[in-house]
């Protein structure tokens, strides 16, 4: 289902994600008061079995935030922060050191941070494409990466044994904060999203 995507469309996809993630990184910088850099988005076509390895192995403990994209296109956004990174973000946002990692306040802060980043990402893409895109209520869990990724892999594997995901890594210069931002477009609406972006004038010019 994905094989019809040619290189020029992948470029558009990368560009869309780069702009969306740029807005999200700016939001994260403002929230934490730290300078957060972005790596160039990677388009991954990966066997679902290989996905846990990308975030450090199935048993690595991570903070995971899961959103469905609702509106004119559908898909999933998954944010994964290594455990220490998630703690650091919550600490900076709440401005206190004593918050236990799993108390109600920390969990609620994490969800809210996820909301802000996802909204920044989607509103940038909405502006580019003219499509209306809104995030669902966030799902949040701190658990093994394999367990966090299960749900996403299950959804993908209904259709394919290969996952198309666009990964953008957020990184603070001092490595204190690191996060993986994954966009998993629904193959049924991906084409429409790319077309709408081209019509609205792709960020790289026509085509």
């Amino acid at each position: 289902m994905y094989e019809r995507i040619d290189e020029s469309r992948l470029d558009i996809l990368r560009e869309i994600c780069s702009i969306g993630a740029g807005h999200a990184a700016t939001a994260l910088s403002q929230l934490t008061g730290r300078r957060i850099n972005l790596e160039v988005p990677r388009v991954l076509f990966t066997k679902v079995q290989e996905v846990p390895r990308i975030v450090g192995g199935a048993e690595t403990i991570v903070d995971g935030l899961y959103f469905r994209i609702l509106g004119d296109a559908s898909g999933v956004i998954l944010m994964i922060f290594p455990e220490e990174s998630g703690r650091e973000i919550v600490r900076l946002v709440l401005g206190r050191d004593d918050a236990a990692p799993e108390d109600a306040l920390s969990v609620s802060a994490m969800r809210e941070i996820g909301n802000i980043l996802t909204s920044a990402f989607l509103s940038a893409i909405s502006q580019l494409s003219g499509l209306s895109l809104i995030p669902s209520v966030p799902g949040y869990a701190r658990d093994m990466a394999g367990a966090i990724l299960d749900l996403v892999l299950i959804e993908l594997s209904r259709l394919e044994d290969t996952a198309l995901m666009i990964e953008t890594v957020f990184r603070e210069a001092g490595e204190g904060i690191r996060g993986h931002f994954f966009l998993l477009p629904d193959p049924h609406t991906l084409e429409a999203t790319l077309k709408a972006t081209e019509r609205a004038g792709s960020p790289k010019g026509p085509g």
């Binding site: 403990i61 799902g139 869990a141 299950i154």
Partner: protein, 162 residues
């Protein structure tokens, strides 16, 4: 003792002295089938209850489905001389990691996976000897072929042996 990892949608068979492990199970389910007489076992790591449209896509990995994986786990043991009458199963997983709210598609997939596994085992006449399923936490399991026991642990340090 050698530890063999069983990834998502995979199925492995082991003999004496071996441990089969599945790490980071969320809504996936690990199915451990053991022949207590011959000390052989197989571990499947499934992600979906069954195929919904009944059409097999070319090259599709069928071991991701509960019904297929249960049949294949038993057949793999029969192929190395095991007897169905001496087999029993233990299962773990099927959690619901994210609270997705009502009506969100996929929110109850863990529960449906467990139901499909239990049904498939009953269809095949294999007794269910132990289960640790549901809840909100991920699990890692280790299946000892020597004893047939399935050790289950979570990130919060909970440990159970089935």
């Amino acid at each position: 003792m050698s530890r063999i990892s069983v990834g998502i949608a995979d199925l492995r068979t082991g003999g004496p002295g071996e441990v089969l492990a599945a790490v980071g199970l969320g809504s996936c389910v690990a199915i451990a089938v053991h022949d207590r007489v011959r000390r052989r076992g197989s571990l499947a790591h499934i992600m979906l209850p069954q195929q919904t449209d009944g059409r097999r896509r070319p090259g599709e990995n069928m071991w991701k489905y509960a019904d297929v994986a249960v049949r294949e786990a038993i057949r793999a043991l029969e192929n190395i001389g095991c007897n169905r009458a001496d087999m029993g199963a233990r299962i773990a997983g099927g959690a619901s990691i994210f609270e997705l709210g009502r009506g969100v598609e996929g929110g109850d997939i863990g529960k449906r996976n467990v139901e499909a596994v239990v049904r498939a085992l009953a269809d095949q006449g294999i007794p269910l000897l132990g289960s640790d399923v549901g809840g909100r936490e991920g699990r890692t399991v280790e299946f000892s072929i020597d004893t047939g026991e399935l050790a289950v642990k979570t990130v919060r340090g909970t440990r159970r042996t089935l």
